[in-house]
Amino acid sequence: MNRDILEQFPILNQEINGHPLVYLDNAATSQKPLAVIEAVKRYYEHDNANVHRGVHTLGSRATDAYEGAREKVAKFINAKSTKEIIFTRGTTTALNLVASSFGRSICQEGDEIVLTPLEHHSNLIPWQQVAKATGATLKYVKLQEDGSVTLAEVEKVVTEKTKIIAMGYVSNVMGVVNPVKEVAELAHRHGAYMVVDGAQSTPHMKIDVQNLDCDFYAFSGHKMCGPTGIGVLYGKKALLESMEPVEFGGEMIDDVGLYDSSWKELPWKFEGGTPIIAGAVGLAAAIDFLEEIGMDQIEEHEQKLAKYAIERLSEIEGLKLYGPRVRKVGLVTFNLGDVHPHDVATVLDASGVAIRAGHHCCQPLMRWLEASATARASFYLYNTEQDVDRLISALIQTKEYFG
């Protein structure tokens, strides 16, 4: 990665508390390149109208832009058809859609839903709610000591009663990559369905939903250089066709009577109300931007950074690193002795280094780690080894400060 990339992100070119900004909170949200900012601006300045209804020229342009974005997303994750791409507000809304519609319709009392303790709250609470509503039970896969998931452990909890396995592809705390392709195959052998939370994987590696053979795959635009407020639910066409919408209103109907209505075909039956048009346009620009650099290059760059960061962090005495030593994604979680991570994050911020501190929307995982909170630095394509160096020196300063 070179200087040219950094120049694409104007926000990174600023001082925070008198120091050049080092942004290491990419697992929370990424920054946006000029190409994305300009695309959204251009859409509002030239093409803005509502979609799928205007006969006028702007209406056609807006519809083309929105549906063009859908095509781009379908290609990006190698979906078979644009009918399998539902635009949502983000990963949370996408997972809630699967749980509320699909989950509640296929689960009955006594059925099982398999999860891992790694799950983000958004891939956990929707399933708790399904279990409460249907009488299904939740079962958890036992984690390895380093926080990773093995196929063997998943196999131990999957039974003929298992209806759904829901799993994050990449953990937002441990930085582990889960064997979702193998787990999907296992699920299908038992007649169960595989739901993948792709929030932390899609921005950082090439995704091929047909190769993974998962039944559903959810991700957010804002973690992959796109705007906030746009996300995607991929689902296999036959399953989406069998599902009921969860939001009713304009845009999603075929015919409306006083007492009954029918729905549009896929994917629109799941997109009630005026959709997030500018968000979709921004997401399409983000995909172009990422593909121009190359997803494989991004993955390689992050692996290098993670390796370097783990080497350097290990030099700090008293620093506890969570997760495996070897990383496929650029994310490190740690605690600095008994200095509380909020205090670490505040002192780092005073040196211009932005990291995340807290429970990372993973309270059950924090209990598993026996930590009330942790600090996390997460990298993206624009981060450099110099950024890691700045993190390390700020951490050493913090340690001295709290003595």
Partner: protein, 144 residues
């Protein structure tokens, strides 16, 4: 680092490293459990109230230096105060967090937390214990 020093004054670090009133009562006490869901901080505050007066206060919890030192100071400050006085202190503490020029002549250590005002993301850390106090006072009033 100047503002940082304002945030982490010696008094605060002293309360963090040598917490006062940390623990639980064996006897019955007004108990309030409060979380800060955005960051995971937790406090369990106990008050022994007799005749409208806070006779004793203790807390347990987990959190950063700001939230835990604030709990240490608060429990120290409210001992011997009437519920009315304790509530007034809590609102004075809110004013302190909003950057107002208020004083705690009755327990000066608290004024060390005035620097938190310059760190908006940390104000909720400092106010956690005081919010638990308010809740405890309200519950005590409803029950008596």
């Amino acid at each position: 680092m100047m503002e940082l020093d304002d945030l982490y004054r010696r008094v605060i670090m002293d309360h963090y490293k040598n917490p006062r009133n940390r623990g639980k009562f064996e006897n019955e006490a007004v108990t309030v459990d409060l979380n800060n869901p955005t960051c995971g901080d937790k406090i369990s505050l106990q008050l022994i109230v007799d005749n409208g007066m806070v006779k004793d206060a203790r807390y347990t919890g987990e959190g950063c230096s700001i939230s835990m030192s604030s709990a240490s100071m608060m429990t120290e400050a409210v001992k011997g105060k009437t519920l009315e006085e304790a509530k007034e202190m809590a609102s004075r503490f809110s004013s302190l967090m909003q950057g107002e020029d208020v004083h705690f002549d009755d327990y000066e250590d608290i004024e060390a937390l005035s620097g938190v005002n310059k760190f908006p993301a940390r104000i909720k850390c400092a106010t956690l214990a005081w919010n638990a106090l308010r809740k405890g006072i309200d519950e005590e009033r409803i029950n008596h």
